[in-house]
Amino acid sequence: MSATITAPRHPGPAKDLRVARRLGQRRHRTNFVVEALCVVATLVGLFFLASILLTLLWLGFGGLSLSVFTRITLPPGSHGGLLNAIVGSLIQTALGTLIGTPIGLLVGTYLAEYSRGSALGDAVRFVSDVLLSAPSILIGLFIYVLVVRPSGGFSGIAGCIALAVIVIPIVVRTTEDMLRLIPVSLREAAMALGAPRWKMILFVCYRAARDGIVTGILLAVARIAGETAPLLFTSLGNLNWSVSLGKPMASLPVTIYQYAGSAFADWVQLAWVAALLITVGVLAINIAARTLLRGRH
């Protein structure tokens, strides 16, 4: 802006034009350079995404075979699979979502429908926003002290609880945002028919915001499916077959962590397969969630 309104420093008609042209050329050169740099920045970002995905496909796809899904993790050299890790991940992700979602839904409902202008509502919104980005490793430590230590050992259920804590703020954010998008006229229509407020929320607002709320839950699933740090201190990981919630439980991310740093080629190979599975799953859920939301608006 300043550049455009700067008056030529040397008055006089002849110099005026020359200076103006110089200035114009410089401004457009600057603009060209900045625009080029921005394109480069975007390409760099896309390059990293492509590099990660191609690395995963390149190194993970080769190790993909049926035995990955039918055999459990075994000692190096004995052709193990990932069955217990896959099942453990599914169980913990599902239970974590099941525990966290109702709480998140209720909090989101409170923020959108009941808290208008109240100090408590502002505090809850603030805390939920902070929890959304809080380091997940600390959630793991928290559940370790709160659940694992008193109960005497690492357990699958502790992992589920840690993941549920991560789910809550994600669901809160999307639920509140989506409920706020519901037009007031729709609420008034429901109330004019004599519906009490809770029925209006449950049967009109939830239904109208369904796709958005489901998107939030899907995003939460995608997030916790890849979480490693909170599980290290809660469900620990388990190289044997176990679906008991009271015992340490395997999961894909923790297995990646254990295998990727090992010195055995077949374990590293399995870690790449696990990484490929997790990433494809997480990205697929993300894209599905986005498509669902886009179809709505």
Binding site: A41, F48, L106, I137, A192, K199, T228, G261
Partner: protein, 321 residues
Amino acid sequence: MSDVAATRPGIRAKGRSSSVGDTIFAALTRTAGVFVLVLLGAIIVVLFIGGWPAFRAFGPAFLTSTAWNPVTHRFGAVVAVYGTIVTSVLALILAVPLSFGIAFYLTELAPGWVRRPVGTAIELLAAIPSIIYGMWGFFVIVPFMAQYIQPWLIDTLGDVPVIGALFQGPPFGTGIFTAALILAIMIIPFIAATMRDVFLTVPAVYKESAYGVGCTTWEVMRSIVVPYTRVSVVGGIMLGLGRALGETMAVTFVIGNTNRITTSLFGPGNTIASLVALEFPESENGSLKLASLLALGFLLFVISFIVLAISRLMLRPRLSA
């Protein structure tokens, strides 16, 4: 919303049962809200109590000691806190210009059909789990750094006075700089997406007026968009910083895991999160070491809480308006 509230008395008069249902449902949602507050409070209290033996044993010296010696049971926070802050700040230095470029491109430069796919691709970077970044960093970035980037930087900058000390030492590939690079890639989507969203809140009239008097795209960006969104842009950067501070798995793979402070950016180090992840399996229940790790966790929570709180205060008014 106020109109809805105004209709409430009429509804309440209609029947007692509906008001009972309303009371129960309202109480339920309010309890859930209070639960979130309690959750945050519990995290702080639990981490503090867990770390209390360490705070009590070392006193304020815990915050100023560079020791981390499980044999002599001497533990201090300085090395890990230093590593956390240096890697995060370095990551910001790398990530902010790139994120700005991406946000600028997506809001002002990109043709319409490019915006959505490219924007989605950048956002998907944020969806990739951190363990994948760690593994990718360990097997792809670390060898690349060791073979090409670090030797080159050491040769060209290592002998420069003053800043030369930052670029010395053997090129292992791992270390503070590599960790910062991976962190930067991880936080780019958060910062870029926030910047893009706030850039889009600038009223078109402002930008059109500037274009109308002959501004170039960059001049509009610099003189209209950035001043208008300055507070939120800083909020977005703080959000990225908050994310970088607590990132665990990606850093754990590449940081080098050494508990001393090195002047060189290529030297190994530790962050709070990586130290906790790496040392936790070797800490016995009830040991002073475990208490020290919990105390470090408490410190990390306080630091990231402050950063995230500032970020949120700067972001929320603009984005929710």
